[in-house]
């Protein structure tokens, strides 16, 4: 009897297993997809007054420029719209937007009260028929309408991609004008998209390599004012500058802030030898980090401030090395053919961007912090000086064309190597430095 019962139970268990197996879902694996900009629709924000209508149109335009310019999104022209958004709170006709293959829809409203501007928006996942995130509102003065448009774009970008935006940021760079043999260089600052250019210095002396502080309120740069290259620090808000403490008869250059903004890394050339130093800004006290007979320059902190990547020719050709922030033994990380220089640690900490010269051409590339997975993103007659966007997704750099009429300009490229595009500047530009996101 017991044997019979156990056999029955086992049989039932087998039946259950068989039934479960029979009811298992179909399983497929998808490992091939497409990489194309995500189509979205951003109809003009609904204004609450005629005065707001102008801002509404401008904000929609800047928003579209930001998203489309990132290379990750594609705007669907308004002429293709089936339905119009006439009220911010009206229900969305998803079918109309599905019909034109809009995968994301941005609706918004703009209101103006005196000098005060208020922007509201919602982001919709059209095919899911649901809102992505919740509605958001920005308020400020009418003068800051561009920043509000950038804020909206950052929010949309962040909600769809899952990483922070970079539109509400600024770039310090060297504005170059005039012919190549009489080039006038001025330190300038602008919105990331080339708008709102402000000049911080005149063209009386050569300026090089501006670097934003982590908080975006100060800029370090190298100036030949006085004949020797010296490091200057400039307060962006008050446009006041001063020279960092330096020794006579030495050249200091290639400065960069530490992540906490308290220390400046720089190169100091003394007696024919160039080494790395760290200086406390407040006290002016310097610490020597390297003491090799070779040239060490272009240092850059890791985001956590624990390590430094720099360029050195101690092996015979310029290569990239990583060492502790307090100095000591350095580890070479670049082993490819050619010369490596101007390394910059990504704000996300996972990659290092660099300039590479190989076989007569220049490249902007990225590699992991151990030197693996090197990828070259660009190639031209002269590409150099990469700088990271605040979210570590885009690299801006200098591209100079060949010949006597050659001109330096700023370009940006996605770290995937796609979406290479020029940055609009009134004149030529070089040595860009991307600020963090503005607050």
């Amino acid at each position: 009897m017991m044997r019979f019962l156990t056999s029955l139970v086992l049989g039932a268990a087998l039946l259950a297993g068989a039934a479960q197996a029979q009811n298992q879902p179909l399983r497929i694996t998808i490992d091939e997809g497409i990489i194309e900009p995500l189509p979205y629709a951003a109809p003009n924000f609904v204004p609450d007054s005629p005065a707001a209508a102008e801002y509404a149109a401008e904000i929609a335009r800047v928003l579209a420029d930001d998203l489309t310019g990132s290379g990750l999104f594609r705007e669907i022209p308004s002429t293709a719209y089936i339905s119009q958004v006439t009220s911010f709170d009206a229900p969305v006709q998803f079918a109309d937007w599905k019909a034109i293959n809009a995968q994301a829809l941005i609706t918004g409203a703009v209101s103006v009260s005196g000098n005060r501007l208020t922007v509201r928006f919602r982001l919709w996942d059209v095919f899911a028929g649901a809102e992505l995130g919740s509605g958001l509102q920005f308020a400020g003065t009418t003068d800051g309408w561009r920043r509000m448009a950038h804020k909206v774009a950052d929010a949309v970008y962040s909600r769809i991609t899952g990483e922070g935006g970079y539109f509400d940021s600024r770039v310090a760079f060297v504005s170059e004008s005039g012919p190549k043999d009489q080039r006038r260089k001025r330190l300038a600052i602008m919105d990331y998209d080339g708008a709102n250019v402000q000049y911080l210095t005149d063209s009386s002396s050569i300026v090089l390599a501006p670097r934003f502080s982590p908080s975006g309120d100060r800029v370090l740069y190298t100036s030949y004012q006085g004949g020797f290259p010296r490091i200057h620090i400039l307060d962006v808000g008050q446009v006041q500058q001063r020279v960092l403490q330096s020794q006579d008869g030495t050249m200091s250059f290639a400065p960069r802030f530490s992540p906490d903004g308290q220390t400046v890394l720089f190169s100091l050339a003394q007696g024919g030898n160039t080494d790395l130093y760290a200086m406390n800004i407040a006290s002016g006290q310097s610490t020597r980090l390297t003491s090799a007979p070779s040239i060490e320059t272009a240092p850059s902190y890791s985001p956590d401030g624990s390590r430094i990547v720099f360029e050195s020719d101690r092996s015979g050709t310029p290569q990239l090395y990583v060492m502790s922030a307090s100095g000591g033994e350095a580890t070479r990380i670049s082993f490819g053919q050619g010369r490596y220089g101007t390394p910059v640690w990504s704000p996300r900490g996972d990659l290092i961007a660099f300039t590479k010269q190989s076989k007569g051409r220049f490249h902007i590339g990225v590699m992991r912090t151990d030197g693996s997975e090197e990828r070259l993103l660009t190639a031209s007659f002269l590409d150099e000086g990469p700088t990271w966007s605040p979210n570590g997704r885009v690299i801006m750099f200098t591209r100079e064309t060949q010949g006597a009429s050659g001109r330096a300009a700023l370009y940006s490229v996605d770290i995937s190597g796609r979406n290479l595009r020029p940055v609009r500047t009134p004149d030529g530009g070089s040595d860009p430095s991307w600020s963090p996101l503005q607050k």
Partner: protein, 386 residues
């Protein structure tokens, strides 16, 4: 003297005879006593056995401490287990009762066809397997005949025997005696082929078990007829198996069978709505077509680099027309990234499923049960550096 000796001899003889006979008479009352003892012992054993159980029970509960009689009855713990089996019996009864209740309501007509459908299915395979060994069993007789058969004289008797077995050859045999050598020639081939299955009857057990799985698909087909809900499907499924079991088993086995089936069916209740195994599964080509269709809409261009390191598994229930049930799409699991990255990756996957499935994926409608529920794994590994 002679008379004296005779008298004395007679007296001695009589005395000796009396001594023997007298002892025999006295033995009669003794067996009566023995018989009484034996009769008493049988009754006493039963009586003794009862008091023996009582003392066993006594040591466990402390009777002296609880002198009161009412406590003594609950004190015996062994009677307690007896009531336990009693509730077990009522359990199968209620189980059996609900069975008939759902049965008459939705499926009474259907279970009846179920039983005949199962019964013939079981009987058919058995006769089939039996028929195969049987003919060889009859044919071995012709074998010895075959050995004799090569001789012309033995030929006529085999003619009579093949008649019942193979009627069509019999009609041809009547025509002429010459085909006789041909018959034995064919007979040994067939005989040898079927001699092997003779040893198979031991293996016949396997085919006799195989029809059981056949009955399982019949149950889902029956449930498919009564598609309305999952719970009614599960209960009727329990009956057909429970019925054959009690038919040959005691009522106690029903409880075990019902319990086991209840567990088995409980485990399958969730997916029970999918009567999957009705047809052949999707071919690799059909799966590839679905994979390609979804991948054409899987746009990873707007994903963060972290989301591009995140693999997500998304489940979706499909409508019969090939369109996805938008509300059923959900993320089962993710790996390789944070929850935020998994959310972005899942949303991209969801957009792909919905967008390319808006007009319905091209899937074979006759295999709907196989693709009603789909789990798609979106692995962006190969898309990372492109």
């Amino acid at each position: 003297m002679q008379t004296g000796t005779k008298i004395s001899a007679l007296a001695h003889v009589t005395l000796v005879a009396w001594a023997f006979l007298g002892g025999a008479f006295r033995s009669d009352p003794l067996p009566f006593e023995v018989q009484e003892v034996s009769v008493i012992s049988a009754e006493e054993f039963a009586a003794l056995s009862a008091p023996r159980e009582a003392p066993e029970i006594i040591p466990q509960p402390v009777e002296p401490e609880q002198p009161t009689a009412p406590i003594e009855q609950p004190a015996p713990v062994e009677p307690a287990p007896e009531p336990e089996p009693e509730p077990v019996r009522p359990e199968p009864q209620p189980v059996a009762r609900p069975e008939p209740e759902p049965a008459p309501q939705p499926v009474e007509p259907t279970p009846e066809p179920q039983v005949p459908s199962e019964a013939p299915s079981l009987e058919r395979p058995e006769p089939e397997t039996v028929l195969l060994p049987e003919p060889p069993g009859k044919r071995p007789k012709p074998r010895p005949v075959e050995r004799v058969a090569p001789e012309p004289v033995a030929a006529p008797p085999p003619d009579a025997r093949p008649d019942p077995v193979e009627t069509p050859p019999v009609s041809a045999e009547q025509g002429a005696e010459t085909p006789q050598p041909e018959q034995p020639a064919t007979a040994p081939e067939e005989a040898t082929d079927r001699i092997e299955p003779e040893a198979d009857p031991t293996t016949e057990v396997a085919p006799s078990r195989s029809p059981r799985p056949k009955t399982r698909p019949q149950q889902p087909t029956q449930t498919a007829e009564t598609k309305p809900a999952a719970t009614p499907e599960a209960k009727p499924a329990a009956k057909p198996e429970a019925n054959p079991a009690p038919a040959s088993q005691a009522a106690e086995t029903r409880s075990a069978v019902n319990d086991a089936l209840a567990e088995a069916l409980a485990a399958t209740e969730e997916p029970a709505a999918a009567p999957a195994p009705t047809g052949p599964p999707l071919t690799s080509g059909e799966k590839d077509a679905l994979r390609v269709a979804v991948s054409q809409c899987w746009n990873v261009g707007s994903l963060s680099s972290e989301a591009l390191r995140t693999t997500v598994v998304v489940s979706v229930r499909m409508n019969a027309d090939g369109t996805p049930d938008t509300g059923s799409i959900r993320m089962i699991e993710s790996s390789g990234g944070s929850s935020g990255a998994a959310k972005q990756a899942y949303e991209a996957a969801r957009r792909a499923i919905i967008r390319c499935g808006a007009k319905g994926y091209k899937l074979p409608s006759e295999k709907y049960d196989h693709w009603r529920d789909i789990e798609m794994t979106f692995n962006p590994e190969r898309m990372r550096i492109k």
